[in-house]
Symmetry: C2
Subunit: 159 residues, 2 copies
DNA sequence: CCGTATCCTCCACGATACTG
DNA sequence: CAGTATCGTGGAGGATACGG
């Protein structure tokens, strides 16, 4: 049988799960936050089959988390850009990152949130107390890095 | 083909997804944070088939997010309690809650994070700046409520 | 009340090949 | 480079019945 839809549940958590879609979508969003925009970049980074990447990309566009933007007319070339709805998903990724890093038992991960350009590590969870907005994940790399500072490592270990 | 495992990816986000398991697991964790502990409570609240509930519960126990605790010997009765690893997942649920509430287009949800005992609403994302620890979700109800204050509603709408 | 056993269905995902 | 087409599969999830 088809999986029961969470759509009718009166709970934002269930709604969110329903609307994001599938597991791959979350990793695609992660990549998008790092600045990935093109099909083959996603494909290579995720090691995902092109078929399923097409499906997930289309689904994310449909659901309003990504938007397709034509950047070349002949031949037609599209790139996939985060919408504000998609960017709003950053806190979820940050929370997942923190949990995954903290409970990566048996894994020797160099961990850190690193700005790709500057190489500077940031806290995985930083909320501006006044604006109540989380620091956006755009520009930060969610992948594990070998050169995370000891301080960052300690912060992550503490949660 | 079997879905590719995220286990070998060197990214805490992928690891987290792999270790949580399936979609139902996340809703089960949500319920557990509300204080649900027993099989039939989960089953009724989620409207999930008993077969799959058993599977997901066992999986969460295996993965160390829940622990089984016998509370009655004859007949044998178990309840499912969040471990610290499971409790650490609260920020993810809070972030999912916030995102889902904010982007519940076309849904008229009374929204709020409400303490079940006191009925007091809380911010969906509140991080203590000094301890850097998010307020635990235990004791708070993630379900949508009709009586969320206008202020809470506005906070949620702002993100 | 708390599950397990059995059987079934569907779809997310994969492999591969091919096109503008 | 950026996809689509085709075909196949495993496992998550479901229905139902049964048992301690």
């Amino acid at each position: 049988m088809k999986r029961k839809s969470f759509e009718k549940m009166d709970c934002p958590v269930a709604l969110a799960l329903e609307r994001v879609g599938e597991w791959w979508s979350i990793l695609i969003l992660r990549d998008a936050m790092q600045g990935y925009t093109r099909f083959d970049d996603f494909r290579q980074d995720l090691d995902i089959s092109p078929t399923i990447l097409t499906r997930r990309l289309n689904s994310l566009v449909e659901k309003g988390l990504l938007e397709r933007r034509r950047y070349n007319e002949r031949p037609p070339r599209d790139e996939y850009i985060l919408t504000s709805k998609g960017r709003d998903f950053a806190p979820v990724l940050i929370a997942l990152f923190a949990w995954g890093a903290r409970h990566a038992e048996g894994r020797k991960l160099g961990i850190g949130l690193v700005n790709k350009r500057t190489g500077v590590a940031a806290d995985p969870i930083v909320i501006d107390r006044h604006s109540r907005k989380p620091i956006t994940a755009v520009g930060y790399q969610f992948v594990a890095t070998k050169n995370a500072s000891a301080a960052t490592r300690r912060r992550l270990a503490r949660g």
